[in-house]
């Protein structure tokens, strides 16, 4: 199963959701798979921060559907967030974990899931997230996207994807600071709120 094909399926289901996503090649893939979601997606280079940030966003915007696009390496870096989600039970957070069993962005050394013994969906369920599943086909993944985006409880799908990167995709040129401004202005516009307002005159 290719990550890019899964992303294309998920992207087709998104319109006014907000997305926070992880680092590495998945950033460029999402940039190309979901061009209509570029402003609504926060592209971050933050191992271990993606799902916690997405949960913070979900807590602050309880009426907005939030999507976390995390990775096996990123989630393994901070498994504690699963226990926090299990206790807090956010109604508006759908977590996708791209599990390619490797640290792809640094050339592909294996992660702990490569052994076949470590089951991230199982860890999520044991942490109190009842709706946590593993998908191994694009059809399964798409069905979990449909269910997860509608769920009134936290929903996790671990997508077992190959280590390949979609060829000939356009690279994203912006850095984390520019990405933050683009994302914040999108949230401000769509929510009718001010997050980063004008300075005082004094």
């Amino acid at each position: 199963m290719k990550r890019f094909d899964c992303m294309t399926k998920l992207a087709a289901r998104l319109s006014d959701e907000l997305v926070i996503l992880s680092l590495g090649a998945s950033v460029d893939e999402w940039y190309n798979a979901a061009p209509h979601m570029r402003e609504a997606s926060l592209f971050q280079q933050q191992l271990g921060c993606v799902t916690p940030e997405a949960f913070g966003l979900a807590a602050g915007l309880p009426d907005r559907q939030i999507v976390s696009l995390d990775t096996d390496g990123g989630l393994l870096f901070n498994l504690g967030i699963l226990a926090t989600l299990g206790n807090e039970q956010p109604k508006n957070l759908f977590v996708v974990v791209w599990d390619n069993e490797q640290y792809q962005s640094i050339g592909g050394p294996k992660t702990h899931t490569a052994s076949g013994r470590v089951d991230l969906a199982g860890i999520a369920r044991a942490s109190g997230i009842d709706q946590a599943f593993t998908a191994t086909t694009v059809e399964e993944f798409d069905a979990h996207c449909e269910a997860g985006l509608k769920a009134e409880v936290p929903y996790v799908v671990v997508a077992k994807v190959s280590g390949t990167v979609q060829p000939e995709i356009k690279r994203k040129h912006s850095d984390g600071r520019e990405d933050k401004y683009i994302f914040v202005r999108h949230v401000e516009k769509t929510e009718g709120i001010t997050i980063m307002g004008p300075s005082e005159h004094n």
């Binding site: 280079q45 271990g48 921060c49 940030e53 949960f55 966003l57 807590a59 602050g60 915007l61 984390g176």
Partner: protein
Amino acid sequence: MKQSAVDAVIRGLKRAGVTLVCYLPDSLFKELYPALDADPDIRTIQVTNEGEGAAICGGIFLSGQRAALVMENSGLRASVEPLARMGLGAGIPVVMLMSYRGDMGENNWWAVPHATTMEPVLKALRIPYAVEREEERIEQAIVDAYELAYASYYHTAVALSGSIVR
């Protein structure tokens, strides 16, 4: 902490517009956590480590609500990676309120390193901070920390010590 100090912290957080608090409980702020839990205007989220709390606070910033990360100063060490990524890499601020273990008057050997590392770590991350030891300073110090964090879009910290926490 005396009830009056707990009240001062909550007054400061409310004046700063805080609606969500992430915390990992500690002993010096023992009386603060249940008071935050009980406050109807503040939602509390207990986390498994302070780095996770920092990242959640970053997400809350992006939502337009205001968050605080409340913890012992040892939690600063656990938060360094997300603070560096979010603050230095993207300009996503987190405001921290810490109990200052290891300051003058410390009576536990294991807490001494918390003081050894706190100010150097804050300086390494270039995080502006205030150390307050008088109760009457608490409320304004918290308000000031938010003013600066939302002007600089960078982290700030307030550490409470002395008679406030002993």
